[in-house]
Symmetry: C2
Subunit: 378 residues, 2 copies
Amino acid sequence: MSAPEAERLARVTLNSVGEPGNLQLTAAVADLGAATVLGALRERRDDLGRDLAARLRAADPVRTLEAAEKLGLRFVIPGDPEWPNPLMDLARCGPLHERGGVPLGLWVRGALSLADTARQAVAVVGSRSATTYGCGVAGDVSAGLARVGTTVVSGAAFGIDQAAHRAALATRGPTVAVLACGADRVYPAAHKQLLDYIADVGVIVSEAPIGGAPTRIRFLARNRLIAAMAQGTVVVEAAVRSGALNTASWAAALGRVVMGVPGPVTSQPSAGVHQLIRGRDALLVTRAEEVLEAVAPIGTHTLQDLREEDGLRDRLTPQERQVLDAVPVRQSAAAGSIARAAGLAPAKTTAALGRLEQLGLVVEEANRWRLAGELESA
Amino acid sequence: MSAPEAERLARVTLNSVGEPGNLQLTAAVADLGAATVLGALRERRDDLGRDLAARLRAADPVRTLEAAEKLGLRFVIPGDPEWPNPLMDLARCGPLHERGGVPLGLWVRGALSLADTARQAVAVVGSRSATTYGCGVAGDVSAGLARVGTTVVSGAAFGIDQAAHRAALATRGPTVAVLACGADRVYPAAHKQLLDYIADVGVIVSEAPIGGAPTRIRFLARNRLIAAMAQGTVVVEAAVRSGALNTASWAAALGRVVMGVPGPVTSQPSAGVHQLIRGRDALLVTRAEEVLEAVAPIGTHTLQDLREEDGLRDRLTPQERQVLDAVPVRQSAAAGSIARAAGLAPAKTTAALGRLEQLGLVVEEANRWRLAGELESA
């Protein structure tokens, strides 16, 4: 077995026995490598050593990786082509709430390369008990980001997270869901379809071991990944002392751009965001253009960028537009999956896909549909 | 005629021939005094001199002051006990939109001393086409300010201004309306009752000559007085490039605290405020306590201050509270005027006043009602 492969297996083992963002573990592995740390742990005869001994003996990384493959999961570690390098900033940052450090590895499920998605990414996070207003703005902002190819990173929770992912998906843009539970699990349960669709056309990622339940510690550790994966974090509606503000703190600690969308001062869910802006801890933003301006070098993004597609779309019926918006941007999907995403009956969807094909907007290959080349590069 | 009296008459004359905030005029008078400037103007034989000659000949300051007195107006100049000294900061500030300088004098109408009201004052300004949300928040903030004796300065316009004045009046707090038209005029016409009530228990002030119509130039000049009269300016809903933002610019130029109340990003009237906060030109505020914290030395105002009266008020019926809130804080008012302010029928108001008198909360004198001593000092 090659040395890198030993290192990968050691990381799988440590991932299965340690908690995400454990400060001692992430620091030791960053310093010494996982194989060395694992060896040292096996040698320990103290209390911690005895506690760990049974779990380490039970760990079978080869079988874990085989099981993962069957679940459609891969394990990505630093140095892999798919490893998102922005996460290395976590080595010089934290801790917050006793969590921190570069993850030992990430369980990844989905069509996109994690490294690719992190190249230009913005986190959009906020309250689970969001208002219609908050979800609307989160959707508008996320759609504007996704439309120009910026990855929308969020946590797949109810409320703002859900609105952010959905808008990115509807715009055929890249989106990443960072979970506190295992990447194979569905949490919240009501988001099964959403998570399946994200895995289909975007990517799901988690530091928690396969099958791991979401816990408070894992949420706190997860938030640092959301912040680190993105060049900036936009908070839309967040109660004072909420998880979204924890993500914002990580973004600030990482030197990322922290942004907040204001709302009515009479709306409790906006109170946390107002507090951030009041304290000059966040830049007030009202729309996607302002977010892009804040995270990108001056002049890179202009209003023009956001309007490029208009000409083509104007020729379509609303239903055709709905279907076109549901075709994934980077790979193909089955008609059934597109129908679900578009919220239309399969027959109507197939008819619309036929028309879109005639117009040269989509291409069929082996019973799956993808966007035609021209649009894809737009 | 005493020298100061000559200076006052010269200022009345110049006030009647020059436009508010005329840069040359305010600067020359600040340097040389009005009598000297007036003498020099009378000597001028150039175009400007000829233009002015007829108007200067027509000016009759003694008669103007007599007419003013009949209208209930007084002319206040620097050095008078009632002169609000914060306005002197205008000597070192500006111009904006070609307006600036210390006013030659102010026409004042109303019960309060202008100097007193300026001692602790906050301007609350915003859009004429304000939303229900904006007016509600402007009212809440203004009530919170007025309740602790902070003067609410505004411009008596529709929308936010009106809501600010009304809330201050309802809280029996001091309020100042700074007009762009003559202090004797009513603009907008629909605000006759409001302005009369402000004159009754607060104060109306204008730099424009008596009978002067409101013009764009006078609005711009007026805005500098609103900003200068107050320690801070709160903008609630303001379109981009609005008068309220002009007032905010003056406040910033004067080194006053500039504050903005955010709103939904989907609401056009909040766009100007969001722009201010985004540019770090304004501090985001959501309620009166935050405004007081920003304009006052740390610890001067606490949440406690705002709750002092609760014990007394809890014993009243809603209608009695409404009437008590309509009794002016610093002087007496007729029952009819209180009924109008309370929005209740005269009979109901009289009954409530009787009960409030029994409770020792109000005092009747010569058919006019005022707050009892204890409450007044609270």
